[in-house]
Amino acid sequence: MGREGGPKDQFPVGLRVLAVDDDPICLKLLEALLLQCQYQVTTTNQAIKALKMLRENRDKFDLVISDVHMPDMDGFKLLELVGLEMDLPVIMLSANGETKAVMKGITHGACDYLLKPVRIEELRNIWQHVVRRRKFDNKDHNNYDNGDDFEKLQQGQTTGGSSDLGGKLNRKRKDQNEDDEDDGQENMHDNEDPSTQKKPRVVWSVELHRKFVAAVNQLGIDKAVPKRILDLMNVEKLTRENVASHLQKYRLYLKRLSAVASQQANMVAAFGGRDPSSLHIGSLDGYGNFHALAASGQLPALSSFQTNGVLSRTNSVGYGLRGFAPSGIVQPGQTHCNTNSPINDLSKLQCISLPGSKHGKLLQGMPTTLELDQLQQHKRMQEATIHLPGGFSGAGLVTGSSSNSFVNVTSSPLLSQAYRQHTQSKGLGNHSSVGIPSMSSDPFHASVGGSSHLPDLGRCNDTWQGAVPLTSYQSNTLSMNAPFHHDDLANMGASVPVVSHIDSTPLNISSSNVVAAPLHDPVTGRDVQCHASSLGGNTMLMPSSLEEDSKFLNFGSAGTSKQKLKEANQDHIHEPNLIFNSYSNPSLSNKLIVDPIAENQRLNNGYLSKKLDINGVGQTNFSAPVREQNCKIDKSTTNIQLTYKEDSTLETAKSQGGFNSNGCSFDDLVNSMIKPDRDDIAFMDGDIVCDFYPLGACM
């Protein structure tokens, strides 16, 4: 298809459309209409068949049109899955034109929403969605490596409209304008240029985001209106619309945060402690870290993390992991982060946030800034409780079970190292499944292989099984195998090895074991919520680039291990899913939602995805992909978070899977690495929620 050429020339012709509708008449009509537009049409009246066809060969189609009302599968569900798995534009079709139905379609990621009976004029425009998406994706990919913030994350990886909230929104707007003129139903956004996106996409860098947050805080979140924010920020070339959309994301992020915040606050505090000594994992403070990370584009560095110290960068970050000798968890040069100071590792791990650019994105995009701010607040509470990093190492980050082998994720090395240490010291139990926040914009469902690995975790005693699926670790999938198992882990059961194979691609936490990063309390009872998002098997992307603040240890600790954690917990740091947002941004501290989901695999599956969401504001972003997938991160995260909140200690974790360890205080983690216990309980509270917010949050 001559896509690149003038849009109208050849490109629309031959567009390969898959039409799904259970009503034979509508289907026939649709087919005829599409043929009239000279598209290539494939039809099916079953959603399941459609999915199958798409899965077989996703490149066979350019676009999917689906009815909402279908007997075998809900149209929205199909929409989510397609967006998540295949990242294809999906257009919804329905006779129901009520605003809320339309809204639902859009929020689920539909590129467009057409009313039946559908008219040919509307169909003539659908090719625009394809072009638009491609264009954005490309753009995002280019930026990816720059460690741009979540925008990129949003755009790029996740692609699916669903994943990127921001991108989606933006895209949606345009689409709306363009395609809905006929219907006029969704012409709500008209601020974008209808024809094509005129303005270059704004990248919300850490600095920018920081300004934004500052402005918002100054105005007061309630009174913050885009115009005023824009004025306060005083950045040229920034439009009110950019701010508006960013604000929207931010609000969502906050909402998510506040849900967890209470619990996390502690954790956050923990994370905040960027200082190396305090092992602030997740660098709640990470904000700075994050920035540092982001700024330095370290996030991408996460990948470097892979190399070994994963966080070589993180080293710099000095993960707040206290106690961790910054020797670098991630021994940067070392392939294995052999037990170097676990803590360090952890911190390193933190840094690990998203090695991949993608990941980095996550972190960056992540609300890191947001989080940072928030985290900072929280952090104070605990002061870098995010020892997770340390624990991180133990935590799911440990991708490489003890064997330094970096499991995909560079983080693993880190983790392993840290883990090892950690394990020794105490069952990290926290399998911080470093679920890298869907770094991979791809279906984040890298859900950490949930519990399946648990056993590993348990064994991780020495090894960081928790493959800290640091997102973006090279291995896309963050399979965070929570190698963390230290002994504790075993207990923790949370050994959900979140294997986040952090491929460079976004956390493909697909089924990776959610390594519940056993956020030991030791780490710091902080709210290190390591979202073991990976729990869900989502590999948590441990933002390797967490350099700074390993705070991001969002270990998506696989919930599974959590359980064990509980038992063991005391020592373990909460497995909280250390959601290592790749950011190492401490900001994540809040986010570090360590899901002790050890218990539930499901957590793993769902959680991670969710968690990640939660964590990173960007979660929405990345979670998007993940979300859709198994990881219903959104949901899970909420769960996770909730769980966290409720129990605030491992209790919740229990349900979650695990964040048994009381709030993984990173510090504790670190310490725990050395000598677990201690703060386990402390952690409990904090369910360290390592939100991966930072990761993707920064939308």
Partner: protein, 151 residues
Amino acid sequence: MEYSNLRHRAADMRKSLFDQGYLDEQFYQLEELQDEVSPNFVEEVVTLFFRDSARLISNIEQTLDKCPQDFVKLDAYVHQLKDSSSSIGASRVKNACTLCREYCDEKNLEGCLKLFHKLKREHAVLRQKLGSYFQLLRQVGPMEIATRPSM
């Protein structure tokens, strides 16, 4: 002569269908889709519609007989019927469906029944009318359908 008479009749019949509200603009779309590639497109779709809608109607009847209080199910069927009828432009049938659904929402069985019967009637009438229309068309031959009536 004969031929043009037939054509005339066909055209008139068509016009009246529109005028009387049996069909609406959607039907035009169908007609537009008919071309050399699919010369009988309209008829095919219409046939398909009647087949499918007959099934739906019988489902509704069964539901009304067995579990008349199951408004959810009823609503689902009627909704489906509404979908398809609007797709081909069967506007009267569609309107009847819409009203019926409203009664379903209110859980008004009596109203529902009443509307359902109306729906059935409209459906039958349309079927018969379109049947003769197509028959006439076939006699006329593969000629283009009369020009659109002025809207």
